[in-house]
Chain length 340, copies 2
């Protein structure tokens, strides 16, 4: 059996290295084809590893990296100069072919920059979008780009749509995924200049199931499987999703706590409520892939717990088995006239 090898940034994220190492152990136990490099400070990682037993130790290996890149550092500088940081070491394991993919819960900026500079883009891919899954009443949608590639062009958005379609079909099992373009109205003539230029190009793309414009109001109801937009808007959407949900649930909690009767009511209603709200958490769906790079780069949330790390690692197995990158490369080179 061929192993899928993942370089895991053991020092990235609010709960590192504890939750990271824990997630690795659980993932290795769950999937026998997984091999994990734990990249970071050897002593700290060892201390965590000692807490676990009953896993296949041959599929876990520590790679020493004394430095850490924090969220406060300028990403480009940090990637260029901190050669001994856990994330740079992990990226080089992938670049050198020792690992198939990288997972990090550390600085998003550093990972985005490092992914492009060290691992590099697939030939023909113009930009590499960060593509988180967002919860909807219907299941999940893939939102891309949520990264830092602001001021994208129409040809970039068309590539995002195609890569997103391949991902949703092969990783999430959605047949013929519906592709929607974020817009401020549903009519074809609506929108800013970027959207007006992108719309007909998506409409004329025969290899995707473009359903037209999607207003942001409809996104939480599952309007499309793949939601295409440029990074500034995508970033606003994903953070506002989190913000509105957080603020509203705070108000619900305040309501529950406000009177003796409401406290009693809340106690009765909570178990059922937890169930229906569970699927509507932005953190439920593991890390976000950066698509279009020569290897898979997965960004887990900064406050990832071990379950999210485990899911992010398992995602790497599916990504390789489903040959996502080969499919992206075939599609993009077949459409190379678009990507010029």
């Amino acid at each position: 059996m061929e192993l899928v090898k993942v370089a895991l940034d053991a020092m990235g994220g609010d709960n590192a290295p504890g939750a990271i190492v824990h997630g690795a152990i659980e993932a290795v136990k769950a999937r026998e084809e997984l091999f994990v490099y734990l990249v970071g400070q050897t002593e700290a990682i060892k201390a965590e590893l000692n807490k676990y037993s009953g896993y296949d130790e041959k599929r876990v290996e520590i790679v020493e990296a004394p430095d850490i890149i924090t969220n406060d550092e300028a990403p480009v500088d940090a990637i260029r100069h901190k050669d001994n940081s856990s994330v740079v070491k992990a990226l080089y394991l992938v670049k050198n072919g020792q690992a198939d993919a990288i997972v990090s819960a550390g600085s998003t900026g550093a990972l985005l920059v490092g992914g492009q500079l060290i691992i590099g883009r697939i030939k023909g891919v113009r930009r590499s979008p960060l593509a988180p899954l967002i919860p909807t009443l219907d299941g999940v949608s893939l939102l891309l780009d949520c990264g830092a590639n602001v001021d994208a062009k129409a040809v970039d958005l068309v590539q995002f749509a195609k890569m997103g379609s391949i991902y949703m079909e092969n990783i999430m099992g959605v047949k013929n995924p519906k592709i929607g373009l974020v817009n401020i109205g549903v009519e074809e003539e609506k929108g800013n200049s970027l959207v007006k230029e992108t719309y007909p190009m998506l409409k004329n793309s025969n290899d995707i199931n473009f359903i037209g414009s999607v207003e942001s109001r409809e996104i939480p109801y599952g309007a499309a499987d793949v939601i295409v937009t440029e990074a500034f808007v995508g970033n606003v959407i994903i953070k506002l999703y989190e913000g509105v949900a957080g603020a509203l649930l705070k108000r619900v909690k305040e309501g529950f706590k406000s009177t003796p009767v409401s406290i009693m009511g809340a106690a009765l209603a909570k178990p059922a409520l937890k169930k229906t709200l569970k699927g509507f958490s932005i953190k439920e769906y593991g890390g976000a892939p950066m698509l279009g790079l020569k290897a898979l780069v997965v960004k887990s949330h900064g406050n990832s717990d071990y379950v999210e790390i485990k899911n992010s690692l398992i995602q790497c197995i599916d990504f390789k088995k489903q040959r996502i990158n080969e499919k992206i490369e075939e599609n993009i080179s077949a459409n190379s006239e678009v990507s010029k």
Copy 2:
């Protein structure tokens, strides 16, 4: 006492003319300085008026307008050709000086176009933003631009910030309102090219209290009193606000209904919950003004009830009394080097 005269589109909105006429009656009863032109189909309006008594009939006047502009019509065409529509007639009452302001719950597009074409902008104002109030855990924030002026420039955003500041200070009574620029990070160097160009211009504006970039995640928590962005992003924000809140509350309701115990709990908790959630409804705060026009144009929600119409009419009184337009004109002409 000087009357404030408002041209009210009696035929606009899902609940017209019933809720519109009802709102006018309530507003006229509440404020003795208010005069309302009910613009629309005379017979239909009369039938509604006959339901009410005890109001000052001298301050309500019907203006016949047989046509209606629907949401399905192309706004520019409709405004240019439907001279006998309620909204065009109402706009001309303002243009001709018979009315001080217009309120409509009809087609947003038609009102935005008509406001610019028929009423026109204040000298020096480059664009007229639609500026709804959005609920936050802290109170409300003014979000602008949410209109259809896509592809705005940095100088436009600076004017939005100034007009928004004047509005929040004088209408909402917020001293020295905090102005935030929507961005994808809080650092000054973050953002797309529009934001990077706008940021230093806002920073150098001495007549506003610019607090820097605001990430969308923080908006629902009341990060700033005035949230500045271009219309595409503003439109995405306001519609997503509505969408996420709606979807989440749907899940809460499903949870409440899911078991006999949760139904009992919900019955106990609901009264308290209604109270804490009340302030967090996007519809609570009446119509959205279009700022920078020669007279006040207020867009009420399509599904406005009579309370929202009443509040929109009363808003027109404050707008005139506080001399908002004079203040905007003074500010913009004092900064005319910016608006070139």
